[in-house]
């Protein structure tokens, strides 16, 4: 069956207005990262599949959606993928090129590819940050502040930070005697809402006082909630104390810095990937991105045992959420240069005027199509005159036209009226 549209399913075109919003997100994110001392990197679109298949990297569900294939020189049987995630390639980049650094503060703006059913997007763009080095707990604090600052500067505040620690769930499931692989399966069932999964775990923990529902379905606003969870479960699950304490330190610090925090025990699906606190950013009621600590990742891709954490924001979602004021492109402060005819000296003069006008800081365009409407505030008409070439300047906002024999005079007049910076 041949698709009707010449565009591939799940792929998106970005029109000029979309691109303006997209670039706005990029620009704000990039500015914030540079200000916090992060450096930009870019990794290749194609990577080896095996980078993503080891336990603890991508979940099996995610692996089932990667675009993998044999490259033109793939006779060795080694498959490659269109990057399905940007963190793992950045970890690979660190291992290959930056291992000597005690602390690597990296950021990127990259696309990722994952299969989705129907016309759901199969290509996404991420603004991501990776912090490699022994930074806990300060690293998490910095990352969360950086993400919140980006979102607020985009006008998407106030941001709610939702926090989770996979160690909480892991310690409960381990105490119940489940092996690591079984832990993943049972946790997936709990997330899927399978009511029998919690009951099965509870059966394995006879000393449990409080129902596990309290842990998996409840949410709280801060360290008081964490203290309550400790009181309810620490006796039956002593290992829960460590993760709760880590979360409490983070929540206390962030709250003191003015962040709105919310703690939820069961937050992320791919908990195999994370080793420490996990966070999500909610803006305008929508999840705008997230991240966490993954201390095992660098070693999994062949590097030393170095801690790491990071986050990524969903560019397309942020672009969509941008307040409408961001949509307006300030075309009104632009100049449209119109040659009155196609005579060579007229066209040369029209294009020749563009450089000096741009030097005034003005956005410019040449009227390439005759009689096409323009949204520019100023219109410069270039026409033949007795002395060679003459210019007229029309100010739409004041509905006033003036004639000039020389371009320099026109530029001076424009500058005097506030045109240009």
């Amino acid at each position: 069956m041949v698709e009707e549209s010449p565009r591939c399913r799940g792929m998106r075109d970005l029109l000029p207005a979309d691109m303006a919003r997209f670039r706005r997100v990029e620009e704000v994110f990039r500015t914030a990262c540079l200000a916090w001392g992060y450096q930009e990197v870019r990794t290749p679109t194609i990577e080896h599949l095996h980078l993503f298949t080891a336990a603890g990297t991508l979940s099996p569900q995610m692996l089932g959606r990667v675009y993998s294939f044999l490259d033109w020189d793939g006779w060795s049987g080694e498959r490659v993928v269109l990057r399905p995630d940007a963190t793992i390639p950045t970890a690979r980049l660190f291992v290959e090129r930056l291992q000597q650094e005690k602390l690597a503060k990296l950021f990127y703006i990259q696309n990722v590819f994952r299969f989705a059913e129907g016309d759901e997007p199969r290509e996404g763009w991420q603004c991501g940050v990776e912090l490699v080095g022994d930074t806990q707990p300060r690293g998490e604090v910095e990352l969360i502040l950086l993400a919140c600052q980006t979102l607020e500067r985009l006008g998407l505040g106030p941001v709610e930070v939702r926090l989770f620690h996979p160690g909480i769930v892991r310690s409960v499931l381990a105490e119940a005697g489940l092996e690591r692989a079984d832990q993943v399966r049972v946790y997936d069932r709990i997330l899927d809402g399978d009511p029998t999964a919690l009951a099965e775990v509870e059966e394995r923990l006879p000393s449990l006082g409080a129902p596990l529902r309290l842990l998996f379905e409840g949410e709280g606003a801060g360290s008081a909630y964490l203290a309550n969870l400790g009181s309810a479960f620490q006796k039956a699950v002593p290992q829960i104390a460590g993760p709760l304490e880590e979360l409490a330190t983070l929540v206390d610090t962030l709250s003191a810095l003015g962040c709105r925090c919310q703690v939820a025990a069961a937050l992320v699906g791919s908990f195999e990937y994370y080793t420490g606190p996990v966070f999500q950013f909610v803006a305008d009621g929508e999840r705008a991105g997230g991240g966490g600590r993954y201390d095992g990742l660098i070693a999994l891709v062949g590097g030393p045992d170095v801690a790491a954490c990071g986050f990524a924001l969903d560019v397309a979602k942020l672009a969509r959420l941008l307040p409408s004021a961001e949509e307006a492109i300030p075309w009104q402060e632009a100049v449209c240069v119109k040659p009155s005819s196609d005579r060579a000296d007229v066209v040369v003069a029209a294009f020749g005027a563009i450089g000096p006008l741009q030097q005034l800081g003005l956005r410019t365009e040449v009227a390439l199509v005759r009689d096409a409407p323009s949204a520019c505030r100023w219109e410069v008409t270039v026409k033949p005159s007795a002395g060679g070439i003459g210019y007229s300047l029309y100010d739409r906002s004041k509905k006033r036209r003036r004639a000039f024999a020389k371009l320099d005079d026109l530029l001076a007049a424009l500058e005097a009226t506030g045109g240009g910076s």
Binding site: V2, H50, T53, A54, A55, G64, W75, S76, G77
Partner: protein, 477 residues
Amino acid sequence: MALKLALPAGQLARPTDELLRRAGLIVRGYTDGSRSYRPRLSGRRGVLLRVFREKDIPIQIALGNYDLGICGLAWLKELLTRYPSEAVVQLRALPLGPSSLYVAAASDSGLTSLDSLAGVPGLRLVSEYPNLTEAFALSARLPAYRVFAVSGAAEAYPPEDADLAVVAAGSEEEVREQGLRPLCRLLVGSPWLIGHRRSLEGKDLSTVLGPLMALEGGRQREDGLELPAGLAAPPGSPLATERPSTTVRLALPDGHQQPSAAAILRAAGLSCEGYDEQGWVRRPRSSLEGLDLKVIRPQDMPQQVALGNFDLVVSGRDCLMEHLLQFPSSPVEEVVDLGGGQFDLSAVVSEDMPADSLAEAVELWRRQGLKAIRVASEFPAIADHYARQNHFWRYQLIPISGASEGFVPEDADVLIEGVQTGRTLAENKLKTIDRFLHSTSCLIASKRRPPPGRAKLLSQLIERFRQAGSPPPTADR
């Protein structure tokens, strides 16, 4: 509009025919030795039947070319594991004998159980079912594994040329009979009746669906996949795969190329116990010291040379071209044209098409406003290359595994196919409009310099084949 039912060729054909008979559906020209791919249903109007290789049936259903089809669960899951398609609906398991897929290792290898695979990097897995094999490797979290898709004879690969094979078998005992040790069952289930979702939603299929759904027995769960849990273990050492530096390994073809290859061996003065014009075993023995032989599918041979598993293979130029078009940097080349098994790779269309050349056909399709030219072939890389070279505007490549003559005109517009005498084409009302590659049997070797201990015997063997072979190959047009 007629109801279109896809029926399996091969081993499943006879049981399917009997099952249809039990359901009161009498099929003529299916298993009675007919060479037609279009049998007929007695006493029922408006039903079109078509015979496909089992592997192609789920694809035809997913494409919507056929409303209903019957195929084994393994081929169905092979498609759906990689390409989850809402268009394919599993209607019912049929009361036909179940079959299984097993993950197996060589019986004398160190891989004795599923747990023994934990953390072993670089495992080589071979199978006719690459998508299910990939799903197994991902689920077991094997580190840096490699999957090799082969067109058959997967059981012949371990231990020299693969560490694990995913093979179809009726039981663990059958796996052992193939010289392998089963490590786990990956899938079990009976053949299924499947349908195209849109056909079910809007077309009356009751003529065939009713009797088949009313049959007793065969009910079972939809999935039959038994994927293992992740084998958590720190990365360990890879298995040793170094082969002896003094042994030359030669692969010989099974299938229709086998008689001519046996004749070539005889002409080259190589006597092989277990490989002659009458028959073959997977591991024939050569009287020549230092020469190791194995019989595999000719389609899979060029890749085996590229991997360094074999020094020489007797295959076809079509297979070499297919490999090189898929992997242009592969270090393999034809070293001797052996002359046997001659045919031309050709573009084939319906006899009724008013076109005598490819240019005329392309122009006609354009005039007819065809949205996309459907190109079916057992050689997808060659067909893809051919379509690009000849500026087909928009085309849809349909890789098929056989029974190709039945595809045109209903399910494809053009077939890229090996043509010898053209008799089969004529029987199926087809004609050739372009012959573009002359293919013969050929000896294929690696471009890499062989290890010193192997070089002398290797050059002696090539010389023997050269003397036994025929003139240099005709150039690709």
